[in-house]
Symmetry: C2
């Protein structure tokens, strides 16, 4: 079984827990954008927007690069894979448990018959 460094998974899920940040990721899925462009749809100051981008960058969901007087942001991540994989692994275990419960109930039914 794969080991997930706790702090990385923490950061990834925490970054995804904010709707503004998920919207930013949505936007970046269409292509790179500057901070100003990212800010446009939101009623938010630039420093506020920058904080969100910083969180996404620390979670390695986004990478940024200074270009002249603008900063270009783009998606950059294999972290999503980790998050998806954690969920899948966990879900598989969970379903196995439900299966066992199902088996148990089947046996009970058989025992009563």
């Amino acid at each position: 079984m794969v080991r997930y460094p706790s702090s990385t998974l923490d950061r990834t899920f925490a970054a995804l827990s904010d709707p503004t940040r998920r919207e930013i990721l949505d936007r970046l899925a269409e292509g790179p954008a500057t901070l100003g462009e990212l800010r446009r749809p939101f009623d938010m100051t630039l420093p506020g927007l920058m904080k969100h981008v910083r969180v996404l960058e620390e979670a390695q969901l986004v990478v940024t690069e200074k270009k002249g007087r603008t900063r270009e942001c783009r998606l950059g991540s294999e972290q999503l894979d980790d998050a998806a994989q954690w969920i899948e692994t966990y879900r598989r275990r969970w379903e196995r448990r439900l299966d066992r419960l199902g088996d148990y109930l089947e046996r009970q039914k058989g025992a009563r018959a």
Copy 2:
């Protein structure tokens, strides 16, 4: 495309962003447990543990039921599906974008030849 009620996804990802809570889910994947049993592996007071369980319950990742003087906790959720689906949808869009970039680079190479 499926709409994800923002607040639900918020709660799900936020609940998953804490390592203690992910451990609790791990434990519950093995079967139901009381609050006291859940607390055991952690160096934490009961009220502290209860807060985590409360967060998981509000995210509908866990359901609890009072039984005599104990409270039994078990996994209970379709919320993980939503989280997984969001990640998958997002990732698909992201990969589509990388494909377009690949196409572009291919065309550039052709144009130079």
